[in-house]
Symmetry: C2
Subunit: 127 residues, 2 copies
């Protein structure tokens, strides 16, 4: 459980920066070198390298050496974990929202006959 | 687009801390006061207040005053936004994975007849 929480810290932290998200979006279309990842971004090569380290620590990127090239590949398992966490949150919220809605409907039903009687009484007074 | 990116920065950043996630989980079951949120956490009241500010800035929590109590309520719209971003990433990755799988299947089919011929030739040599 502690490990799962640490994973969430690292993955959410890694996703909280626009350049890192741009790098992941690029990698979601296929592997790339650090140079290819840096190309569309307006940041220095050391900054790219630093961002890659954060993504690697979160388990979102794996770097492999092919001949003289180091290729970066996306790993989506950590994304599955954060999606699952988000889904659980939204399900719990929906449940508590549904419970509130049911309670309101119940209160309306309980109040219903009384309201109908009041309206009838008012009608009687009008006649 | 810039605003959407800023929202993702703030929301992912807010989610990257276990006490803040615990506070959101508590709020997903219904509104609570800052004191109620602090109770199960092993952190100081000023720390709770600081975390609440981060959650508010990300649009995940709204604080309203009821008599002398300030109640915290979960807002899930920002969670919907980060879920949508994650779903897009995973869809793009799945697409590129499917494309790779199709390419491999094609290569296997292209190689197929040749492999069959090689096997037949081997069979002839054996006889």
């Amino acid at each position: 459980m502690q490990d799962a929480s640490r994973t969430l810290d690292l993955v959410f932290g890694a996703l909280a920066e626009p350049n890192r998200r741009a790098m992941l979006t690029r990698l979601s279309h296929g592997p790339a070198t650090a140079g290819e990842l840096a190309q569309p971004l307006k940041i220095s090569k050391p900054a790219v390298s630093q961002h890659l380290k954060v993504l690697e620590a979160a388990g979102l990127v794996v770097r492999t050496r092919q001949a003289q090239w180091r290729t970066c590949t996306l790993r989506t398992e950590p994304l599955d974990e954060v999606s699952a966490w988000l889904d659980r949150q939204r399900a719990a919220w929906q449940e508590s929202f549904d419970a509130l809605e049911n309670r309101l409907r119940e209160m309306k039903r309980e109040r219903g006959p009384q309201t109908a009687r009041e309206e009838r009484d008012e009608g009687t007074t009008d006649r």
